[in-house]
Amino acid sequence: MNPTTSPPGAFAELARTAGAWFVGWWRTVHLTALLTVLALSPSSYRKQHRRALARHVYLGTAQSLLWFTALSTLISLVVIRIVLVTALSYGLSQYALEMVVRVLVLELIPLAAALFAALRCTIPLAAEIAALRARGEWKEAAALGADPLRSEVLPRVVAGLFCSLMLAAVSCVVTLVVAYLSTYGFTTAGFEAYTRTVGHVFNPAVSLIFGLKILFFGITVALMPIAAVLDAAPRRRTNTSVELQGLVRMFFALVVIEVASLVGNYY
């Protein structure tokens, strides 16, 4: 009899999986704490680290910014048009603008920005870390007395976080502008009414939740892929299961944050 098919064996397997799951999350939390301390430490921004930080921030964000802005403009345009036309056909056009702001700016665009930042910036950066470890450069740097966590990981995590926040900020502003233009056209006549609607949606609680959500999305997409890479043993071959596990963990965290924000906004 296979030990995993017997009830005690299955239980032991389940306990082992749950233990590994908790240990994995604990390591991620621990890494987050370490990186937060490093990020808040002024010594991390000395000249020798600043150049690496600037390079990762610029290269990570600049190459995604234009594409994502164009993409989010297109998606916003289509979704806003669909919402406006549908609302008009049901005679509920007075609610259309508020719905657009709520659905797009509050919910869809930050999530899309986080996912785009993960795909275009943080997952490739995590792959770079994995490559460093695979080539043994990590150990070499550690042997030379340098702290690879500070010199290699921190700039990439900060770059990932910045990329996510920047994409969210740009796309939210672009969506607000597109929503105004789609509703009122190229005129300033609707500015007062539009501003009032936006102010109506963004009450203090919603604004706070919105800000926190974007921040936590950024932390999640910046940290999870790199944490998954650092958690695994260094290998020369591509470790697909580890990367997938990191992605699953990242999606899980994103969903939890999204659900928490929805609960905060609408309950």
Binding site: A130, R196, H200, R236, T238
Partner: protein
């Protein structure tokens, strides 16, 4: 299994730190701009005045809801709280630039429509009234469509029941309609209307006979009227004689009027005479008074002469 290719270090970027700083500046500008815009949209930079609306029930009212006037939002619900007396206090912030729409006599209504949310509306009938002061407290009227539904349904049900009773086969209305049908059938028959009025055809026949006799009577009356006409309006008729009499009476009235005028003048003269007599009487009174005074003076003079005269008598009485 494929081995990872050794990653190539990226080429150095010119002006890297400047570009990174530019990105950071753009991010900070976006965030700051958004925050400032949201603060403006929430009315943080506007001077407001407070208005407290008191309602029995604030269900459906939410913080941030608009107070509208003529379809335009002029205020925003800032807070909802329970007063010590159990009423709901809806605290509304009204921007100063829109506050002039609210007057002392403004009315505030909380609408609950069948579809959609609750809305707060203000009505100002007389815009020349004094403006609403800061911190004013007003009772809000509730226009609740759904609350009127049960009453409406109850009334509609009662109406339908009444209609059902009215239209039943054994109802009074059905009986009346049946009687009306009989009536119209009888009206269509010979002497229908008269028979309907008098009950049966024999009575209707009597009415016809009576009408014939009335016609004969009218013909005779016509002849009598012709004769009377000749007697009254003829050449020697009553009217001509009356006219002559009236002329005579007019002449007599003229004489009487002249006589009365003469009597009037006589009376006027008599009044003049009487007035003269009154004046004369007044003068006589004065004359008499003067004569009395003169006599009294003469008397006193005579007494004085008697006292001073050598032959005067001692008229004084002396007690010895």
């Amino acid at each position: 299994m494929q081995e990872d290719p050794v990653p190539v270090r990226p080429a150095p970027v010119p002006n890297l730190e400047f570009k990174a700083a530019l990105l950071l500046a753009l991010f900070v500008a976006l965030v700051l701009g958004t925050v400032l815009y949201l603060m403006y949209a929430r009315g943080s930079f506007e001077e407001t005045q407070r208005l407290v609306l008191v309602a029995d029930d604030a269900a459906g009212v939410s913080v941030g809801m608009d107070l509208s006037f003529a379809g335009f939002p002029i205020g925003r619900v800032r807070r909802i709280e329970l007063a010590p007396d159990g009423a709901a206090r809806i605290v509304v912030d009204v921007p100063r630039r829109d506050a002039h729409w609210l007057r002392e006599t403004s009315v505030f209504v909380l609408y609950r429509s069948l579809v959609g949310g609750v809305s707060l509306k203000a009505y100002s009938g007389v815009l020349t009234d004094p403006p609403l002061p800061d911190g004013a407290q007003r009772k809000v009227l509730v226009g609740d469509t759904t609350a009127e539904l049960p009453l409406l349904v109850s009334n509609a049900r009662e109406l339908v029941q009444n209609l059902t009773r009215l239209s039943a086969t054994d109802s009074a209305l059905a009986g009346s309609l049946s009687n009306l049908q009989t009536l119209t059938e009888r009206l269509n028959g010979p002497r229908g209307a008269a028979a309907v009025l008098l009950g049966d055809e024999a009575e209707a026949r009597k009415i016809a006979t009576a009408l014939d006799r009335i016609n004969q009577l009218l013909a005779r009356l016509d002849g009598i009227a012709l004769k009377a006409d000749a007697q009254v309006l003829g050449p020697d008729g009553l009217v001509q004689e009356s006219r002559a009499t009236v002329l005579q009476l007019n002449a007599m009235l003229g004489d009487a009027r002249a006589t009365l005028k003469r009597v009037d003048s006589v009376l006027a003269e008599a009044q003049t005479v009487a007035a003269n007599a009154r004046v004369a009487t007044t003068d006589l009174g004065a004359l008499r008074t003067e004569v009395d005074a003169t006599v009294r003076k003469v008397e006193r003079l005579v007494d004085e002469v008697n006292r001073k005269w050598p032959f005067a008598r001692d008229t004084e009485l002396k007690l010895r």
